[in-house]
Symmetry: C2
DNA sequence: TGAGAGATTGACTAATCAGTCGGTTTTAAA
DNA sequence: TTTAAAACCGACTGATTAGTCAATCTCTCA
């Protein structure tokens, strides 16, 4: 693993555990087993490191999710697949999940950053389709996406403290119905 | 206004603007117009200050909300009243809202802290009632509350970037239906 | 082989930070 | 009026911080 990746892994772990505030750059470098200088070689500032990590995580969840949906699926099937992919990815990557929550609720975050990512753009397009087909409530597509996202987050938080339910696909389906009922007409 | 309150006001503004990380205690004291020492007289550590602010905000939103619900209301009416109270309170107190989002998604937060507050306890009791009456989905009461909360947050974020909709009560009712559909059976 | 570019080091620094402390003023009750 | 506690001040400190830099190493390709 190259040092840039090592740094991001270590940073993710420390940030999710101690927050942006509680994590010194020197500590990241030390625990990653690299020199202090190389951190600033790859990431000019601590903020750049944080932002780079955000885009890296979004990229990974995007490619993971995209691999799951298939062409012939109905709208509800597609939404279900994306919902489930998001839930499971976040459960399997708890540090990424914690990092994202912190980042998206910090002053770093803005609506421009959110809109700039393909993952959001794809989801918004899907929302538009659902509205056109009169399946979704007639609301701003971006809002529908944000509602879904926040329900995914809440679901993940809940399944994290109830791990015995994580393998119960029947229960997960019931959790999906919450999100579906929220946006469907 | 006493100095303790002044400090909390200033801290809230600075934290919501620059985050916990970006706000020095010395700056809080300076902009509050008090000495550095008095901050640590009232709050032994920066963390204590942050936690005290959390409980203060929860208290205020709790008393505000409680004043709105009336005895004879149906379950849906009560939920609507609480939903609307939360949305409007957060819109009117954007700094409190930003602070809460940051806090609740930071490593400071835990499920124990959440459960410890009366606001949460009251909401959970209401959720239990809804489940008993077969009006809500049969899920953990705490989960139903958390779902509602996250939908309130998303709604507030949305109304913040669309201020022209903030006075449109008809539109707000449609936004409430999202949350209602999510939890109702 | 050699030259140039990028990767890597770790000691270093200037600034900033949370928290302390010795002392003064204000408050309120006795 | 006395007294003691609480409020208050701001200079101070030791630790920590993000970020720099001059030097060395490693890789690549001509």
């Amino acid at each position: 693993m190259d040092k840039r990746t090592k740094l991001m892994h270590t940073a993710k772990r420390l940030f999710s555990e101690h927050g942006f505030y509680g994590t010194a750059t020197a500590r990241i470098a030390k625990e990653a087993g690299v020199s202090n200088g190389i951190l600033f070689h790859y990431f000019p500032t601590k903020d750049e490191l944080i932002k780079a990590m955000y885009f890296d995580i979004k990229d990974r969840i995007f490619h993971y999710s995209l691999g799951q949906v298939y062409k012939g699926a109905t709208l509800k099937e597609s939404i279900y697949t994306l919902w489930l992919a998001a839930v499971e990815w976040n459960l399997e990557n708890p540090e990424d999940f914690d990092f994202m929550l912190q980042f998206e609720n910090s002053p770093y975050y803005s609506i421009e950053i959110e809109k700039s990512h393909k993952y959001v753009q794809m989801s918004v397009e899907l929302a538009e389709k659902g509205i056109e087909q009169n399946v979704f409530k007639h609301l701003t597509p971006l809002l529908l996406f944000q509602l879904m996202s926040s329900l995914v987050d809440t679901t993940v938080k809940f399944l994290r403290i109830n791990p015995e339910l994580q393998t119960d696909i029947e229960y997960k389906n019931r959790l999906f119905e919450i999100a579906w009922d929220a946006i469907k007409k």
